[in-house]
C-alpha cells in the first residue's frame, strides 16, 4: 500500500541537477510568466494610447513652428511599428523617453512613484487583512444583526463615491486631529513641524509604511500563535496591540509628530487636510476592504458544508476554532486568488483618493499628462502601475503557494 505524501515536508525541486527550495523554482517560473504578461500589457497600452489620443494634440507643444514641426520633434511622424520598437527598446534599458514638455519621464516619475507605491502596497495588504477578518464575521454571523451591519459596510465600501469619502475624511477628521496635536503638545501648523524636523517627509512615510506593515504581519503571527495555544484574549488583542506598538515605535524613533502630520496635514497656507499620504492609505483601505469581504464570505460559505467541518464540530471544537482554524484557512486560498481580479478597482480607487487629496504621487503626474495629452508621461505612469500590479500578483501567488501544498507541488 502506498503511503500518502507528507504534505508538511517542504518540497524541493531539481534545477540542473541541484536541489533547490520550492520558492526558487516557483519564482523562476512565475518570473518568466510575469515578463511575458508585462510585455503584452505594455504592447496593448502603447497601441491603445497611440491609437486613441488624437494626433493634432501635438500642436499645443509647438513652440513657434506649426503642428507638423511639433510632430516631427516628438517623432510622431514616423510609422507606429518603428516608434513601438524604439519605445520597447528604451524600456529594456530603463529609458522611459522624454516628456513633450522637456524633462525626461523617468525623472518626473522617480519623484512621484515612491509615495504611490508605498501607499498602495501597504494599503492593499491592510485592506486584505481587514476585509478577510470582517468577511469571517459576516459569513459566520449570517442572519444576525452584526452580520448584516458588516455586510452593509462592505457594500458601502465597494460603492461609495471616492471624492465624497475624501470630503468626509478631510472635514470630520480635522477637529479630532487638531485636538490630538494640542493634547500631545505638538505644534498644530504643519510648516512648524517640518521646519524643526531633521527628516524629510519621504523618509517618515517610509518608516510609517514599514511599521504599519510590520504591525499587520506581527498581528497575523500573534493571532496564529494565540489560536494554536487557545489564548482567546491574545487573539483578540493581536491587532490593536501591534498597532499600538507600531505607533509607539514611531514616537520612540522621534518621528511621532511628523507621522501624525502625514496622516492629517494642517497647513494654513494651503487647503486643510490635503497632501496627507497616510490619509490616502486610510482611504484605500476603506474603499477596498468591501470587495475582499464578500470574496471571503463566499469562500467561507462554500467551505461550511464540507465534511471536515462536520467532523471538527463533532470533535467538540468551539465554533470560533472551527471557523478560524479550519474553515477560514481553506477559504483564504480562493479568496486570495480571486482578490487579484479586484486589482483594477483598487488601483482606480487609490488614484482618485490620491488625486483628490493633492498628494504628489503618480495620480497627479498622470492627470496632468492626460490633460495636456503628454503621451510619454502617460505611458510612464502606466508602466509603473503595471510593474506594481505584477509585483502584487507575484506576492499573492507566492502566498497562495505557501498556504497550499498542492499549489507548491504543481509549481515545482
Amino acid at each position: 500500500m502506498r503511503s500518502p505524501p507528507d504534505l508538511r515536508r517542504r518540497p524541493t525541486s531539481d534545477i540542473q541537477g541541484r536541489r533547490v527550495p520550492w520558492v526558487v523554482a516557483f519564482l523562476a517560473r512565475r518570473l518568466a510568466w510575469a515578463v511575458i504578461t508585462l510585455a503584452i500589457y505594455l504592447t496593448a497600452v502603447f497601441f491603445f494610447v497611440q491609437w486613441w489620443v488624437p494626433i493634432d494634440f501635438s500642436s499645443q507643444f509647438a513652440l513657434g513652428g506649426g503642428q507638423a514641426d511639433a510632430a516631427a520633434r516628438f517623432g510622431l511622424d514616423r510609422p507606429l511599428p518603428e516608434r513601438y520598437a524604439e519605445y520597447m527598446g528604451g524600456l529594456l534599458t530603463g529609458d522611459l523617453g522624454q516628456s513633450f514638455s522637456g524633462p525626461p519621464v523617468s525623472e518626473m516619475i522617480a519623484d512621484a512613484a515612491p509615495v504611490t507605491i508605498l501607499v498602495f502596497a501597504v494599503g492593499a495588504v491592510i485592506a486584505y487583512v481587514v476585509g478577510e477578518l470582517l468577511g469571517r464575521v459576516a459569513a459566520w454571523r449570517r442572519g444576525t444583526a452584526l452580520g448584516s451591519v458588516v455586510s452593509v459596510l462592505g457594500v458601502v465600501s465597494a460603492t461609495v463615491f471616492p471624492p465624497f469619502l475624501v470630503f468626509l475624511l478631510v472635514r470630520y477628521l480635522r477637529q479630532p486631529m487638531v485636538s490630538l496635536r494640542r493634547f500631545l503638545g505638538l505644534p498644530t501648523d504643519s510648516l512648524v513641524i517640518w521646519r524643526d524636523s531633521p527628516f524629510e517627509p519621504s523618509e517618515v512615510l517610509g518608516l510609517v509604511a514599514l511599521s504599519l506593515l510590520a504591525a499587520v504581519v506581527a498581528g497575523l503571527l500573534v493571532r496564529a500563535y494565540a489560536h494554536r495555544h487557545r489564548l482567546r484574549w491574545l487573539a483578540f488583542a493581536a491587532f490593536p496591540a501591534n498597532l499600538a506598538a507600531a505607533v509607539g515605535a514611531l514616537f520612540a524613533a522621534g518621528v511621532g509628530a511628523e507621522a501624525i502630520d502625514l496622516l492629517y496635514r494642517v497647513d494654513y497656507t494651503t487647503s486643510i487636510g490635503s497632501g496627507s499620504p497616510v490619509l490616502v492609505l486610510l482611504g484605500v483601505v476603506l474603499l477596498s476592504f468591501g470587495q475582499v469581504l464578500f470574496m471571503m464570505r463566499v469562500g467561507i460559505e462554500d467551505e461550511s458544508d464540507e465534511y471536515y467541518v462536520l467532523s471538527a464540530r463533532a470533535k467538540g471544537l468551539t465554533e470560533r476554532e472551527v471557523r478560524d482554524v479550519h474553515v477560514a484557512r481553506n477559504a483564504l486560498i480562493p479568496t486570495l486568488a480571486a482578490s487579484f481580479l479586484a486589482l483594477p478597482t483598487l488601483l482606480a480607487g487609490m488614484v482618485i483618493v490620491e488625486f483628490e487629496l493633492e498628494v504628489d504621487g503618480l495620480s497627479s503626474v498622470f492627470f496632468d499628462a492626460v490633460e495636456v495629452q503628454d503621451i510619454p508621461v502617460m505611458m510612464g505612469v502606466l508602466v509603473v502601475l503595471g510593474l506594481l500590479g505584477i509585483g502584487l500578483r507575484l506576492a499573492t501567488d507566492l502566498t497562495i503557494a505557501h498556504l497550499d501544498p498542492r499549489q507548491r507541488r504543481a509549481a515545482v
Partner: protein, 312 residues
C-alpha cells in the same frame, strides 16, 4: 433532491435571494426616476423652462442654494438650478453608462472565456495571457485617456460605458468566465455530448454558454459598479464630456462649501442627492452581482478548486 428541473430551482433561488431583490428594487426606483423626467416636463414643469431647465434654469424669487421646498422638491444648487431636474437627468446618463458597460463586458467575457475554455491549447494561452495583462490596466484610466478632448456628442455616456466595459471585460471578467468555463468543460455531460458526436458549435451553444451566462453576469454587475463610480468621477472633474451627472452634483455641493470655507452649511440636498445617486445605483448592481454569485457559485466545491488553480 428536488424533483423540479435545475433551472426552475435556480430561478427560485434567484427570486428568493434578498440581495438580488434589494438590488432590483433600487433599479426599479431608478427606472421611475428616469421616467419621472419627461412626465414632470409634461405636467408640473410644463412651459416653465426658465425655472426648471437643468442647465440654465434660475428662480429669481429666492436666494440660492435653497433647501427643498414646494416649488423645488430637492432644492436648488448655488447657480439656482432645480436639483430635481438635474437629478432625474443625471440618472439617465448614469444608467446608460451602466447598461453599456454591462453589455460590453458581458459580451467580451462570454465570447473569449468560452472560446478559451472550449479550445484550450493556444487559444486558451492567448486569452489567459491577455486577460492577465489587461487586469493590470484600470479601466478608469483607459476611459480618461480616450475621453479627454472629445466632445460630449461623440464621447457621451454610452461610449464611456462601452470603453469601460471593454477594458474590464478583457481583463478580470474574461479571467473569471474562463475559469468557470474550465469547470463546465470538466463536467460529465460535456464528455457525454462529445461521445454522442456533438461538435464545437453544439457544445458551446448548448452546454458552455448557458452555464457561463450567470458567471459573466456576476462579473458584468461588479464591473458596472466600477463603471458608475468612474463615470461619476470623470463627470465630477468635468474631465470627459460636460453633461450633467451625479458627479457634477457632488462637485456643485463640494465647491460651494469649500468656497465659503464652512461659513455656511453644506448644501446637503445637492451633495447628498449626487453622492446617494452614485452609491445607490452602484450598490444596486453590486448587490445583484454578489447575489447572483451566491446563487450560482456557492456550494460548488469542485468548481471553486479549479477556479483557484486556474486563477492562481
Amino acid at each position: 433532491m428536488s424533483s423540479r428541473p435545475p433551472s426552475t430551482r435556480r430561478w427560485r433561488q434567484v427570486r428568493s435571494n434578498p440581495k438580488i431583490a434589494m438590488g432590483a428594487a433600487i433599479l426599479l426606483f431608478f427606472g421611475l426616476v428616469i421616467a419621472a423626467n419627461p412626465l414632470l416636463w409634461a405636467t408640473v414643469w410644463k412651459g416653465q423652462e426658465r425655472l426648471y431647465d437643468p442647465v440654465i434654469g434660475y428662480d429669481h424669487m429666492i436666494v440660492h442654494p435653497s433647501a427643498p421646498s414646494a416649488t423645488h422638491w430637492l432644492g436648488t444648487d448655488s447657480l439656482g438650478r432645480d436639483v430635481t431636474s438635474m437629478f432625474t437627468l443625471a440618472a439617465r446618463s448614469s444608467v446608460a453608462v451602466a447598461v453599456a458597460a454591462a453589455l460590453a463586458s458581458g459580451a467580451v467575457s462570454l465570447v473569449l472565456g468560452s472560446l478559451a475554455a472550449y479550445h484550450r491549447r493556444w487559444v486558451d494561452a492567448v486569452v489567459t495571457h491577455m486577460s492577465d495583462a489587461m487586469v493590470l490596466l484600470p479601466a478608469l484610466l483607459a476611459v480618461w485617456i480616450v475621453g479627454v478632448g472629445r466632445p460630449d456628442e461623440t464621447f457621451g455616456a454610452v461610449q464611456v460605458g462601452a470603453v469601460f466595459g471593454l477594458v474590464y471585460g478583457l481583463g478580470p471578467a474574461t479571467a473569471a468566465v474562463r475559469a468557470a468555463g474550465l469547470v463546465v468543460m470538466a463536467k460529465p455531460f460535456v464528455e457525454a455530448a462529445r461521445l454522442v458526436g456533438a461538435g464545437g458549435y453544439w457544445t458551446m451553444s448548448r452546454h458552455l454558454l448557458p452555464h457561463l451566462m450567470p458567471h459573466a453576469a456576476v462579473q458584468a454587475m461588479i464591473g458596472v459598479t466600477g463603471a458608475i463610480v468612474a463615470e461619476a468621477f470623470l463627470n465630477f472633474r468635468s474631465a470627459v464630456g460636460g453633461g450633467i451627472g451625479f458627479g457634477y452634483l457632488v462637485y456643485e455641493g463640494l465647491t460651494w462649501q469649500e468656497m465659503l470655507a464652512g461659513l455656511r452649511d453644506i448644501p446637503w440636498w445637492v451633495l447628498g442627492t449626487g453622492t446617494l445617486g452614485i452609491t445607490l445605483l452602484a450598490a444596486a448592481f453590486y448587490l445583484v452581482g454578489i447575489g447572483l454569485r451566491e446563487v450560482f457559485d456557492s456550494r460548488a466545491v469542485q468548481q471553486r478548486r479549479v477556479v483557484s488553480r486556474a486563477v492562481g
